[in-house]
């Protein structure tokens, strides 16, 4: 590692400056696109974008004020890369992995980010307790787990052989405390000996290699009922969450970060509000992970490039996030990358494209918007990674991307939303009207979609063990709920013309059940201690209860019961309050409710039969 850094740098000088772009002359012809450059006297980093016969164009990651022509520029001869080793989780970095916590604690900057501040992303002095997991003389290839470090009390960090490694382990340290740059093992390959530390680097724009892709088969449980039933995502899937301002994008992102069942969360705040990052940080450190009872922050890695931080670093930030995600996936973890918001990222792309005077496509966005977006979303997936895990097992990990989109004026036909739709398999359309009427999460059930239900219906089937009397599984229930909701939508128009009272009873029942599904099941309070997360058992019970009511009510209506009798039942009020009254671990209460419902429906039936007899 230290050897590669000692390669002689390539030097050039600035020949023009405009905005965050500079032109550089004097580099040798070996300069490559995406090489990282540094304006030496100001410590400003940048990236090569274009190469001409006599000069190159680079974008700087920070402002260029006070810089003069002919100042020295150094080509580091490597692309922008992420440092990978223990010390990532619980910490917060900017889009080019500068450590924000250290910047605040170490410097005299008074809380502001001074231009040109540079600190190594990960501490070179902190010692980690390394436990070797392989023996001397074993064969080692890319991805093999060499040893482990307890990175946080909840997460074991696996130290893996770097990509491209192949050879015999000729040396490994004993269990003990080491820094990330200490040599901990050596590999003999083709007669050459190479030393390795825990630290590795990987370029952000390059996808990390893996053995093979696997078809996703397991849902990412989010705890949001509308998502887990109607618009599910899988581990390794992609979803876009578009919505105008005030529709609750950030609340959804944050509640996913808190409750979804991924092992590792990568939270990328890309061009959004500074106070939101402060809020997220505060919540993550105060909240407990229900699975471990430890602070949620222990499984979270944060990138914060707020809207007022340099735009070109914003462009890098989502790729930085996904690069860290791929690294943890290689350890065999389920990783979720939450990016808020990809529109801000696209805008930074547009801004730089404008400075380069490229020919714009739609609304000023460059024509390569689509290919850039696909290169981001295509890095999601379930894979079998290279290398062997502890005890020689294979490693399977997943990377899920959940990206919010902020369409101007909430218009989903704008280029970023429309292009994103081509590369994601699920789409949660946030609706301003729902938000306005305080229906949260404001996911519109008519315009949202998910292509994943077929992938995961078996998974749900295996877990659908309660209440044998309702012979519908998750997949069938979802279809039925969709059917009821879309029928309600059709009936809405007629209702407005002739009034609800004049509809036939069976149609009124549809309206009634649809309203119950919306108010009781789809609506969910992210700030309520019980309602904020619904487990799969409660989810199935809750919706089955409503479907059972629908089925039984249909029967009753055939026997001349009128809908008003049903509406007045006490049980309806109880169903409406299931979300925040029945905790996930009190399933018995739900069963009791079901019995109570059956009883009161039977009562109606008996009293009807009784009156008929009379």
């Amino acid at each position: 590692m230290t050897k590669s850094e000692s390669i002689i740098d390539d030097k050039g000088y600035i020949s023009a400056i405009y905005g965050s772009l500079i032109e550089i002359k004097g580099f040798e012809s070996k300069v490559r696109v995406h090489d990282l450059i540094k304006i030496s006297s100001h410590n400003i980093f940048g990236e090569i974008l274009q190469i001409y016969s006599d000069h190159v164009v680079a974008q700087c990651f920070e402002g260029t004020n006070n810089i003069k022509l002919s100042e020295e520029v150094i080509n580091t001869l490597e692309p922008l890369s992420m440092e990978l080793s223990p010390g990532l989780l619980t910490h917060i970095f900017d889009g080019i992995q500068r450590p924000l916590e250290l910047a605040f604690n170490d410097s005299k900057s008074n809380g502001f980010l001074e231009r040109g501040f540079f600190l190594p992303p990960l501490s070179r002095t902190k010692k980690w307790h390394f436990i070797p997991q392989v023996k001397k003389n074993s064969d080692i290839n890319h991805g093999d787990v060499i040893g482990t470090v307890q990175e946080t009390p909840s997460i074991v960090h696996k130290i893996m052989a770097q990509p491209g490694t192949s050879g015999k382990l000729s040396y490994i340290v004993n269990e003990g405390d080491y820094t990330i740059v200490d040599t901990i093992y050596s590999i003999q390959s083709n007669g050459k000996l190479k030393d390795y530390s825990m630290l590795q680097k990987w370029p952000v724009t390059k996808s990390r290699p893996y053995m093979k892709r696997i078809i996703p088969s397991e849902p990412l449980i989010t705890g949001l009922r509308v998502v887990d039933l109607l618009f599910p995502i899988v581990k390794g899937g992609t979803v876009a969450v578009p919505g105008g301002f005030g529709t609750g994008k950030t609340v959804i992102q944050q509640s996913l970060a808190k409750w979804c069942n991924a092992d590792i969360i990568i939270f990328v705040g890309c061009g959004e509000r500074g106070n939101e990052i402060a809020d997220a940080l505060k919540q993550f450190s105060e909240l407990k992970d229900p699975r471990t009872g430890r602070s949620l922050l222990e499984r979270i890695f944060i990138i914060a490039n707020t809207s007022n931080m340099p735009v070109s670093a914003r462009e890098a930030s989502i790729f930085s996030g996904v690069t860290i995600g791929e690294y943890y996936r290689e350890m065999g973890y389920d990783v979720a990358v939450l990016a808020d918001s990809t529109s801000r990222w696209a805008e930074s792309l547009r801004e730089i494209s404008g400075l380069l005077e490229e020919m714009p496509a739609e609304e000023g966005y460059p024509s390569y918007l689509a290919s850039k977006l696909s290169s981001f979303y295509e890095r999601a997936g379930v894979v079998q990674t290279f290398g062997k895990d502890l005890s020689g097992k294979e490693k399977i990990g997943s990377l899920t991307i959940i990206a919010s989109v902020s369409p101007p004026a909430g218009d989903f036909s704008e280029p970023v939303t429309a292009t994103t739709k081509r590369f994601v398999q699920a789409f949660w359309a946030l609706d301003a009207n729902l938000a306005y009427s305080k229906h949260y999460p404001a996911i519109n059930w008519l315009t949202s979609y998910s292509n994943y239900p077929e992938y995961i219906s078996d998974w749900w089937f295996e877990r659908d063990i309660d209440w044998a009397e309702i012979d519908r599984d998750w997949y069938e229930i979802r279809n039925q709920v969709n059917e009821i909701l879309s029928k309600e939508n059709e009936l809405k128009n007629i209702t407005q013309l002739i009034g609800e009272e004049n509809l036939p009873e069976d149609q009124r029942l549809i309206l009634f059940i649809a309203k119950l599904i919306k108010d009781s099941f789809l609506m969910q309070n992210a700030f309520d201690e019980i309602d904020n997360f619904t487990g799969i058992k409660k989810l199935l019970g809750h919706i089955k209860l409503i479907i059972l009511l629908f089925k039984e009510a249909n029967e009753l209506l055939k026997n001349d019961v009128i809908i008003e009798d049903l509406k007045d039942l006490d049980i309806i009020d109880k169903i409406l309050r299931i979300g925040h009254t029945i905790p996930n671990n009190k399933f018995q209460k739900l069963t009791n409710l079901k019995e109570e419902m059956k009883k009161s429906l039977n009562n109606i039936k008996y009293s009807l039969e009784f009156s008929k007899k009379l």
């Binding site: 004020n65 917060i92 809380g111 105008g244 500074g274 106070n275 914060a304 809207s307 735009v311 805008e347």
Partner: protein, 464 residues
């Protein structure tokens, strides 16, 4: 020794092109001396080996290729700030002005510090989540959309709606409820001369002028100044907030003028436009202003912003309000119909929101019943508006008791709670008591968002 240029190659809009003869800094400030003896300020915006391109802050009108001298100052623009500024009025370059003459006034303002007006971004890790309140004395804001220290809460208005009056009222009434020092920075962006005189007269009459610093950019000033003045105001705010431990409230009025200036400059630079001709970086540019708000861990001072903008054609989806709404923490929307009905301030309470208030209000800061009241008022008003729709179809006679009560409530809500005199300064208690008064139109069962213990304590049913 400064370098001097005597010849200009090209002039396009506010841009001046020079043949590059020396090693200039990017962003360097230049002084343009004209033959007539006036001095303008400009800045380097592009350098190549042949050319230097400058942007003149005060326009290029009257300049020819040979009638001026351009001095390079070897410095970027630095704002001078001092404690002498309290109670004063300044132009976009931070020079004291006489508002009636509109001239730069020779005055002895000392300089305590010099600051770069572009500032540095606040480290997100250094931010503390804001949770303390500011009282504006306006019921709609304090009761329903409480302003939090460190929040940015814009007002979306329209031409002909009295946002000026409202701005003046906020400036003269706003305060923190502790003994801590509180400063208001008023920043007029492209405002009409008469408006400026109105504002300053109101400030003087309030007797609070020593706690106000005003920056004024007139409607007919050059557009470059329009782009600088909010940065000047915010740089001043940052100094007093984070170095002098004061709570600073910054009013920016009117951001629409700022955005139009940005568009004008962008088209002069021949940039590719995005929506409605505004540049693609409108969001980032707005963010570079709005995000200069907040609270830093370990520091006492805060910056709060109320940007005021007029929505072109009252269209909330126009790029200016839309982009603003994506950055700010909520918005206060003014409604033309309500204003025509004679309600002042005419807040569209259902379209407005303050996102930071939920953790900040309550027993410790305002009053125990505040959160419940807030939620009840909005819920009942929303149902009441539905009742008004019903009336327009079937008439008032067909209403049931509940609906009649809601209707009465909504009228009282508009006329008693929202409506207030523009000199009337209500404290939190008065506002919340008024809320109970208008809620007294409703029966107890209609107060479903209020805890029983508050109903027992505060609710008195109005006799019909």
């Amino acid at each position: 020794m400064s370098v001097i240029y005597n010849k200009i190659q090209q002039i396009i809009g506010p841009l001046i092109f020079l043949k590059n003869n020396h090693n200039v800094q990017y962003g360097e400030i230049v002084k343009i001396y004209t033959n007539e003896g006036n001095i303008r300020t400009g800045q380097v915006v592009k350098i190549s080996e042949d050319l230097i391109i400058l942007e003149s802050f005060e326009g290029t009108s009257g300049l020819s290729s040979e009638n001026c001298q351009i001095f390079f100052t070897e410095d970027s623009f630095k704002l001078r700030i001092s404690n002498d500024m309290f109670g004063g009025t300044f132009n976009s370059l931070g020079k004291p002005i006489d508002i009636n003459q509109k001239d730069v006034r020779e005055a002895n303002i000392s300089t305590d510090v010099e600051r770069d007006i572009n500032g540095s971004p606040l480290n997100p890790y250094a931010r503390e989540y804001p949770s303390d309140i500011i009282q504006t004395g306006i019921s709609a804001i304090d009761g329903l959309f409480t302003l939090i220290r460190g929040q940015k809460l814009p007002i979306f208005s329209g031409q002909g709606i009295p946002h000026n009056k409202l701005a003046a009222q906020i400036v003269t009434q706003a305060k923190v409820l502790t003994e801590e020092p509180f400063l208001i920075i008023f920043c007029g962006i492209g405002i009409i001369h008469d408006e400026a005189i109105y504002f300053l007269r109101r400030f003087k009459e309030s007797g609070n002028i020593q706690n106000i610093i005003s920056f004024i950019n007139f409607a007919n000033d050059p557009i470059m100044e329009r782009l600088i003045i909010p940065r000047v105001a915010l740089t001043t705010a940052e100094y007093f907030a984070f170095e002098q431990d004061m709570h600073v409230l910054v009013i920016l009025i009117d951001m629409t003028n700022y955005a139009e200036a940005l568009r004008e400059l962008s088209s002069a630079k021949e940039e590719i436009p995005s929506r409605k001709g505004y540049p693609g970086y409108l969001y980032s540019d707005f963010a570079s202003l709005y995000e200069r708000t907040g609270k830093i861990t370990g520091k006492k001072g805060t910056i709060t912003q109320i940007p005021i903008l007029t929505m072109p054609n009252d269209d909330i989806s126009h790029p200016i309000p839309d982009t603003t709404g994506y950055i700010t923490e909520g918005q206060l929307v003014l409604n033309r119909n309500l204003y025509k009905k004679g309600v002042y301030p005419p807040f569209d309470v259902l379209a407005s929101i303050s996102r930071l208030m939920k953790d900040a209000i309550g027993e410790k800061t305002t009053r125990e019943d505040h959160a419940d009241i807030n939620s009840q008022l909005l819920a009942s008003y929303s149902s009441a508006l539905e009742v008004r729709d019903i009336i327009s179809i079937i008439g008032e006679d067909a209403l049931n008791l509940e609906q009649t009560a809601l209707l009465k409530f909504s009228n009282d809500f508009e006329n008693i709670f929202l409506n207030q005199d523009f000199n009337e300064n209500r404290d939190f208690n008065t506002t919340l008591d008024l809320a109970w008064k208008v809620l007294s139109n409703l029966s107890e069962s209609q107060l479903f968002r209020i805890h029983q213990r508050f109903i027992n304590k505060y609710y008195k049913k109005k006799k019909v």
